[in-house]
């Protein structure tokens, strides 16, 4: 049944874990839509046939509705609409709540390409490799205008808005290739802003990413020279460099000592006590907010002295700094800087000709 409906409606394959659930609601809604549209048109035609005009001045008996008619006219459709909403909204919440164990990938839209960055490296352009069966969280932003990350096979779409991060997630069901479109109009190259998600067998994926990180190679990034984010270094590494540049270390330490501001060591996912007595979980959202608007949620025991960085740090650099903070864990922190550029060409994949 699912297969017949899917083909009849020209829906693409159900590549993600929630796609089948979305489609089920789709079938329900579209079936009712078609029945109602044909029903109303057929009713009009049948009433015409039954009550054809006999003479041009024929008079008719006045028909006035009873309350029950209007209640039915309102109640029946409203019942259906609310039912759809009651099914659709929890599903939407699910689509927007990544599982805790999801792996992160940063996605950056840019005229006219998609750039992907794994927190531990490597970075890529227009091809995203993910392990099948494991949830993947996408943190999406844009460098220039609004784009929209659209994967029909996954029933997934999220706008990439400059200056902010939005998140979504998916679990690819099986190994395979899935096309990515840009769905928000972005200029001359809009329809060529394609990318591909390659979902791999988890074991193969693990081998691939380990290989890639071990053998540093350059990747031909299609990028402008002013791009300060060097795609050849891992995000935390870039974050470390950027934090130094922006002077974060004047107030924040990375070794656990208290300074003008709280230390960054083990800060990620720590529950901070705020000045106003509330507590806050130091997740990506809080870390980003604290850079943008430091006074909004001030940690107890510290002065409101930090300047705002709103508009001063481009979004991808914020991501790098957040990733750097996330990498500062007691059990992983090492005295020496982590290893440099990491990326290997994937066999059979040339990023410069990915389309």
């Amino acid at each position: 049944m699912n297969e017949i409906m899917r083909r009849m409606l020209f829906l693409p394959e159900q590549g993600s874990a929630y796609a089948a659930e979305v489609d089920k609601l789709h079938y329900f809604v579209i079936t009712i839509t078609m029945i109602s549209a044909f029903g109303v048109a057929a009713a009009a035609l049948l009433l015409f046939i039954r009550y054809r005009r006999k003479s041009d001045t024929q008079t008719t008996e006045r028909v006035e509705p009873r309350a029950v008619h209007e209640i039915l006219f309102i109640g029946v459709p409203l019942g259906f609409f609310l039912l759809w909403f009651a099914i659709g909204f929890p599903l939407f919440v699910k689509l927007h709540t990544p599982p805790k164990d999801a792996m992160d990938v940063y996605v950056q839209g840019k005229k006219w390409m998609w750039k992907f960055a794994y927190p531990g490296g490597p970075n890529g352009v227009d091809v995203l490799r993910v392990p099948a069966g494991r949830p993947v969280r996408l943190l999406i932003t844009s460098r220039d205008v609004i784009h929209s990350f659209f994967v029909p096979d996954f029933r997934l779409k999220q706008d990439a808005v400059p200056g902010r991060y939005s998140e979504t997630w998916f679990t690819a069901l099986a190994p395979g290739r899935h096309q990515v479109f840009c769905a928000e109009y972005c200029g001359i190259g809009h329809s060529a802003m394609l990318a591909e998600i390659i979902s791999m067998d988890p074991a193969e994926y693990d081998t691939w990413i380990a290989e890639t990180r071990r053998n540093p190679t350059t990747v031909a990034a299609q990028d402008t020279p002013e791009d300060r984010l060097d795609p050849r270094t891992s995000l935390p590494e870039q974050g470390r460099r950027l934090s130094a540049e922006y002077g974060c270390f004047k107030c924040h330490t990375v070794d656990g000592t208290r300074h003008i501001g709280p230390t960054w060591l083990d800060l990620y996912r720590k529950t901070e006590k705020l000045k106003d007595g509330k507590t806050v979980l130091a997740d990506e959202a809080y870390l980003t907010e604290s850079m943008m608007d430091p006074a909004a949620k001030l940690v107890a025991g510290y002065q409101n002295v930090m300047p705002t960085f709103q508009g001063r740090i481009p979004a991808p650099e914020i991501a790098a700094i957040v990733e750097f903070i996330k990498s500062l864990r007691t059990d992983t922190v090492r005295p020496e800087p982590s290893k440099g550029p990491v990326y290997v060409p994937v066999p059979g994949f040339d990023p410069t000709s990915a389309r």
Partner: protein, 210 residues
């Protein structure tokens, strides 16, 4: 009363015509308020995003000049109201003189506003990317001045339009056009002027005080 001559062919009587004119004017004023609402919304959003910057930036404006301007504009509303009062009682000349007073207040408002703008431009308190005031680095500052110039600019345009309308009505007053019981244009012009005043009454605290 020779008011019958003022009734257009499609109205049964003057009262109905005046009712229509008044209703139309109220609807038009609604649209004017909604025009400013777009800017007020933007102000609210950005004030929420950059509260400190907006508070700090508003102190760079001259509150005394803003206050003087508020007084000037409120006084001009009084003279307009008086003009309508006298026009309705057949004293068209007095009404005309009061409208001239209103125009003088409006001009004073624009002159003071002009001084303020010159000062702001001179200091580099300019919108968006033109903002070059040296001692101000918070991000919302340029945004505050973007909104400041857009809001006071749009209001200024309304002041000029209002002045043009009132000038025409003043001339008509001196010609004795409203001495015979038909004073709708004075009333409508006055309503428009009150709106211009009302918008400023919202702009003044938002931009200068808080």
């Amino acid at each position: 009363m020779q008011s019958e001559g003022y009734v257009a062919h499609h109205f049964p009587n003057l009262a109905q015509q005046e009712h229509a004119a008044r209703l139309g004017m109220w609807l038009f004023l609604t649209t004017e308020i909604l025009l400013f609402t777009g800017l007020f919304t933007a102000y609210a959003v950005y004030r929420f995003l950059f509260p400190e910057a907006f508070a700090e930036a508003s102190h760079l404006l001259s509150a005394p000049l803003g206050t003087v301007n508020t007084v000037v504009l409120i006084t001009s509303s009084l003279t307009v109201a008086l003009a309508y009062h006298f026009a309705r009682h057949g004293a068209g000349r007095t009404a005309g003189l009061l409208l001239l007073a209103t125009l003088a207040f409006a001009a004073a408002f624009l002159v003071i506003k002009g001084f303020e703008w010159t000062h702001d431009i001179h200091e580099g308190l300019l919108p968006g990317r033109y903002f070059i005031y040296p001692e101000f680095h918070a991000v919302g500052g340029p945004m505050f001045f973007t909104l400041y110039f857009l809001m006071t600019g749009l209001h200024g345009i309304h002041v000029v339009i209002g002045m043009a309308v009132l000038a025409v009505i003043a001339v008509q007053c001196f010609r004795g056009a409203y001495d015979h019981g038909y004073t709708t244009p004075v009333e409508l012009g006055g309503m428009y002027w009150h709106l211009v005043d009302l918008v400023w009454i919202f702009l003044y605290p938002l931009l200068y005080l808080i």
